[in-house]
Symmetry: C2
Subunit: 412 residues, 2 copies
Amino acid sequence: LPVVKKRMKMNLQWMTDGGCTSAKGYRACGVAAGIKAGRTDLAMLVSDHPCSAAGLFTSNRVAAAPVELDRARIASGRCRAIVINAGCANACTGPQGYADAVEMGRLAAEALGLPEADVLVSSTGTIGRRLPMERVAEGIRLCRAALRSDGGADAARAIMTTDTVPKSAALQVEIGGRTVTLGGMCKGSGMICPQLATMLAYVTTDAAVEPAALRTALTRAAAASFNRITVDGDQSTNDTLILLANGAAGGEVLTEAHPDFEGWVAALMELTRVLACKIVEDAEGATKFVTVAVEGAASDADALRAARAVAHSPLFKTACFGADPNWGRVICAVGYSGAEVDDRQAQIYFDDVCVYDRGRIADAAANARLAAVMTKRAFTVRVHLNLGTGSDAVYTSDFSYDYVKINSEYTT
Amino acid sequence: LPVVKKRMKMNLQWMTDGGCTSAKGYRACGVAAGIKAGRTDLAMLVSDHPCSAAGLFTSNRVAAAPVELDRARIASGRCRAIVINAGCANACTGPQGYADAVEMGRLAAEALGLPEADVLVSSTGTIGRRLPMERVAEGIRLCRAALRSDGGADAARAIMTTDTVPKSAALQVEIGGRTVTLGGMCKGSGMICPQLATMLAYVTTDAAVEPAALRTALTRAAAASFNRITVDGDQSTNDTLILLANGAAGGEVLTEAHPDFEGWVAALMELTRVLACKIVEDAEGATKFVTVAVEGAASDADALRAARAVAHSPLFKTACFGADPNWGRVICAVGYSGAEVDDRQAQIYFDDVCVYDRGRIADAAANARLAAVMTKRAFTVRVHLNLGTGSDAVYTSDFSYDYVKINSEYTT
């Protein structure tokens, strides 16, 4: 079976301990504001230069106050600072919540000496609680002295909620004879579902990119990364993906027509794919990283539909947890996905083990090899529908006892 | 808040220990064919008289062999016997599986002295395994002597898979001056999702009902019962709902135009609602029975969309398990459901406790009362969208450690 999607070949250099301050001209920090006891919980990220900015936000009709505020502000294409708190989502908090988000932005703008319109605000945590504004204000005061050009790791740690590890990455690529850096951080391990940008993710680059081109690039990158992961099928009220480009690397301003644009987008896509996969690897209670690839579908849309149905199925996800060779749950989910499927044409592979081949079921030897594949930390389920040329893939995790434990005790 | 849907008032009499043989002129049995070790695993249900018959089957595009066979046979509107095995779904078994289903029906027809066309076949269990035909044949031989007019309870027990209790019910109602009985049995506790008839359910009546009217009645009853439950969002390949009407109670043949038709349909709807709720009560690993009711939606379709999104949300279901007062997950799911929603207009109740009122969040006292509601075995979540007059409700269960345990070890 062939690889689902070919990626553009590039000479990328991944950076050790890279993150949102790896690109030139960015500073960040994480401080303990007392919103979550005993750890850092408020982060700030700022560009030393004016930026192009693009953002993608949740398509959930119930959007958090900071999402509403950021949507309005980033329309200008010109923001350069973000203040982020963990521990409270500031969602479903009504007009008071919106006023709190505006005030959080105002305090950050004041601390940074920037116009309010240049500052974005993010929140993550429990829905339906007010932001503790005194603590937020105190945290922002602390940020002023804490901002550092190597503060990306601190920021990545401060935005965690049920995450068990901070998530950062950065890479370098030659663009027009200059070294351009792209770096980013994200958080999220539950309420993760591919509809738009998922949870909180911030990407910075020192390339110079014109705002409209930045939006195009971000949309393409999200489609292949944050929109291809699912933990639980629950799309958050706070999903946010922000991309800043400050031009500090020098060089021409990239537009969509610029010959270097595609190369830079390819690098952005690599970075966002790695960041998105870090979320799945740290999914709540997860013990597996599972790639669900569908090929030979009647259309790409059908392939995505089928892959998502499998990746969302609690029966499939619990079978992955138990390494239970119950491949019938794969074809069952494909069947109800809405995708065109004929089970007498379909084939199913777990890595290189064929468990179902156009109406012929696996023998005992294949089932034993299947069980061995499923005990691995990471494996790929490939469904070949043999109906056309459509293909797509989704990244997901398993459902474990710890998933239930984490989510039955979250607020209490 | 008002009740979601008003039910027709009727003088129903529920029968103690009622089931699929409570109506006149039906016999059933359950025998141990050796398909599942140590218990009964093959059931037969037959009418002593010719019947009208109607059936609804999975809308999963991957349908099991017995579903394909039954779809073709029941189109005549005139079947009168069903043979059912547990332990093997006979799904994804290709042409061999279809031949096995035909042979299973042929053996049953021979044992009963009926034409093959009068006999339906059902299977439930693991997908992707062949039926052990020698055992099936032996089981059918045993059925011949085991069939009894009080055999409904044995049949209900023989069709169980991960079910922990058999599920039967029957009621009597006056129709046109005569006592008419409706009874039924069903099985199912996982791979349950409201798209069509869910898992296996068999309803018998001694009313005389014309086949076209029987189909109409069954479609209406399924919409309000089996199509309103969800355990895990996974729609099975084998979902089957069969209704037989043999006229043994005497009286005129009911058509849709007959003045007694609506009364009989209302009784059928009560029976199927109770049978469907028995599946949710016995959902895999479940500790709660949760009714998700949505009112004030822009349309009934929107209400159903919103209710299903909440009922499918793993985050909501794990919160129910832990009695974690995390009502934000309810509004989050409504938000991504696709239904029209404005969180500044919406209200959320758990039983009589208001936790969210048009942008105003619950105080500590309400949260304490919420936690108390959620410790109950059964409660209702009501979302009032205040946008229109659309309403609907869905019945669901929670996600527990045992759900993960059961489904991570199912085939092994």
